[in-house]
Amino acid sequence: MKPLVKTISLLVFLLFLFQSCGVTRVVAEYDCDTFDNNPEYEETSVNYWWGLQQARDIDPKCCDDCAINKFEVVKQFDHFFISFITLGIVIPTRVKWCCRPPDAEIENID
């Protein structure tokens, strides 16, 4: 392989490694009670000591019926890397969610 092709291949590989992420998404309905990408509805949770010490449960701040419509787990390269170099002592995971919007019956105006 030519050195230039090798370098480009390596750069592309590194780029994928650092920029990409794996997303697992559970969706009840594609509708949320807030705008897209609201930073209030995402958090990075860290577990320590192979999961023996666990982060506290997250309050989703869903105000009406406390239901979640969408939940996703995002695994980025830095998460894998930190878990790897700490031999699983530190396990970060990013989670994002959105709450089910309120839904009221249509009433006639009286």
């Binding site: 750069l11 592309v12 780029l15 994928f16 920029q19 990409s20 992420c21 794996g22 997303v23 969706v27 309905e29 594609y30 509708d31 949320c32 009670d33 807030t34 705008f35 897209d36 990408n37 609201n38 930073p39 209030e40 105000c63 009406d64 919007p101 309120p102 839904d103 009221a104 249509i106 009433e107 006639n108 105006i109 009286d110």
Partner: protein
């Protein structure tokens, strides 16, 4: 700015300092303690009480913004590609505001009833109602109504979609704003107004008493406020006009880009269209509701033009709503962002590969397959959840339909020299009455260039814009898509000084100086639509 000591019931502070739009094209910095979420005040028992209390909450927010000299703007779903709907101050999250009210005869204008219209057509809908939920309410319960038009998907809020001119390809109907017939706007700490057209009144004094707002029946003000990007105040509710439920029957056909198709694309002429439609489609051409053409500009030889047709027909009581989620794999959320970074890093070197790359991803992105057997669906099911993900770019140019293929030729010629990393969609709409609605032509043809958000795409948009200007094409740009090239001169060229003046004067009629400042943003300043900008 200090944290507000006590907030009214139904207002929560959002502790956010920045926000990135859905398509990840920009990040907006926000001021501390300037963003809020609105919900229904829980102590209020009836829906009417919740609605009225929320009007007061909107007024409280305006008072707070004036006092603290911050800019505010209501946010829908945050789908716009441009900064049209954000301010440098704060965001007001309205997505939990989803009340809807039906109308009875005693609240409806006599003139509306005398024209043979039914009160059942009308619904007052709160601003945060998503198109998805609205469609469900209309179609799935006992109401059995249909929205007259929709965008290509259903994640927007009704007011967000209306305020930027969201559209599909309902060429006999128009865009989302074209089925809105009344607006309830909170315009100051002590003022809120109900606006409808003088030429098409829909409500009477009993309704005015219920909503408690100052009534303005004025075509110019109403048409200006329809597409106003949130800069006319907080649009709390809209009156929509619906029709009895119907089904759409969808076909997707493949054609060559020949003279016959070109002629149809310049006219939407039904007689010509009938000639090319295969005989197995039995639906009456006069029932055609939706007509669109989608194609890959790098691969047009042979039958590569996907023509989407939807016919309007009666509802079938045995109809079953679709709830199926697609299975298997799709492209990852980060894929488009990674490709964009590679293209940007490689610069001009990668340009010759763009046609191949686009062809490779076109099928995955557009999911166009030939569909010879009609698929039946309601409006809500037909225009469902979006399948796009990650960083994307989109620019939509509206021209008079008669100029459609002329503009496409300019685009395709330029595409040979400077390949565009994406696909094209051509959609048609009946002209809008909204003063600054971008589908302003009697029969508007919207050419959508969707692709990767990389430097090459942005350069393409900019150069293509200049070509259209050079060729003296009369065109406009979608307010909610890529339009960073807009400025006062260009907006004036697109809409004319008279329309701009009408829009600005209408805004001045509704908002005093302090409130205008609250609802201003850099975008409207740049476009010459803010204070003192009368053209």
């Amino acid at each position: 700015m200090r944290t507000p000591k006590k907030l009214p019931e139904g207002i929560r502070l959002l502790k956010i300092k920045e926000w990135t739009n859905k398509h990840e094209n920009f990040t907006q910095d926000l001021k501390k303690n300037a963003s809020f979420k609105l919900t229904w005040p829980s102590s209020k028992k009836t829906n009417a009480e919740k609605y009225h209390a929320t009007t007061k909450n909107f007024q409280w927010l305006i008072k707070y913004a004036i006092k603290n000299k911050i800019r505010l703007r209501a946010m829908g779903s945050g789908w716009s590609f441009s900064k049209v709907g954000v301010t440098e101050g704060g965001i007001v999250d309205t997505k939990s505001l989803r009340l809807a009210f039906g109308m009875k005869k005693d609240k409806v204008a006599q003139k509306y009833l005398d024209s043979g219209n039914s009160p059942k057509n009308l619904f007052l809908v709160q601003c945060g109602m998503s198109m998805l939920q609205l469609n469900k309410k209309m179609e799935r319960g006992s109401l059995k109504r249909s929205l007259k038009a929709s965008g290509a998907s259903n994640g927007q809020t009704i007011v967000g979609a209306m305020s930027t001119g969201t559209h599909g390809s309902a060429f006999k109907v128009g865009a989302v704003q074209d089925f809105v017939v009344g607006l309830h706007i909170v315009t100051g700490p002590d003022r809120h107004v109900w606006i409808e057209r003088k030429s098409y009144p829909v409500t009477n004094q009993a309704f005015a008493d219920w909503i408690g707002a100052e009534v303005i029946r004025d075509d110019a003000i109403f048409n200006s406020a329809l597409v106003s990007f949130g800069s006319f105040g907080f649009i709390h509710g809209v009156m929509i006009e619906t029709e009895p439920i119907f089904l759409l029957e969808k076909f997707n056909l493949k054609f060559s880009y020949d003279d016959q198709l070109k002629s149809i694309m310049d006219t939407c002429d039904l007689t010509q269209m009938q000639k090319i439609i295969p005989s197995y489609i039995k639906s009456d051409i006069n029932d055609l509701y939706h007509f669109q053409v989608i194609f890959n500009p790098h691969n047009m030889s042979g039958k590569k033009m996907y023509v989407g047709l939807m016919y309007k027909g009666p509802y079938d009581s045995d109809y079953v709503h679709e709830n199926k989620m697609p299975e298997g794999f799709t492209y990852g959320d980060s894929l488009t962002g990674v490709i964009q970074t590679i293209i940007d890093a490689a610069g001009g070197v990668i340009r010759p590969l763009i046609p191949r790359l686009t062809t490779l991803f076109f099928g995955q992105a557009y999911k166009q397959v030939e569909r010879k057997k009609g698929k039946f669906a309601t409006v809500g099911d037909m225009f469902g959840a979006t399948n796009t993900r990650g960083t994307l770019a989109s620019m939509a140019v509206a021209v008079d339909a008669a100029d459609c293929t002329k503009v496409l030729k300019l685009m395709l010629d330029f595409n040979k020299k400077c390949p565009f990393p994406g696909g094209l969609g051509v959609r048609y709409l009946k002209g809008t009455k909204a003063t600054l609605g971008f589908t302003k032509f009697d029969l508007s043809c919207v050419i959508e260039l969707d692709g990767l958000d990389c430097d090459i795409a942005r350069e393409f948009y900019e150069d293509f814009y200049k070509i259209l200007e050079k060729e003296k094409i009369n065109f406009t740009l979608h307010w909610g898509k890529f339009n960073y090239m807009l400025n006062r001169g260009r907006v004036r060229k697109m809409y004319g000084g008279r329309r701009m003046n009408t829009w600005i004067r209408s805004r001045h009629a509704l908002l005093d100086q302090d409130t205008r400042e609250v609802f201003a943003n850099e975008f409207i300043e740049k476009c010459g639509l803010h204070i003192g900008a009368i053209a």
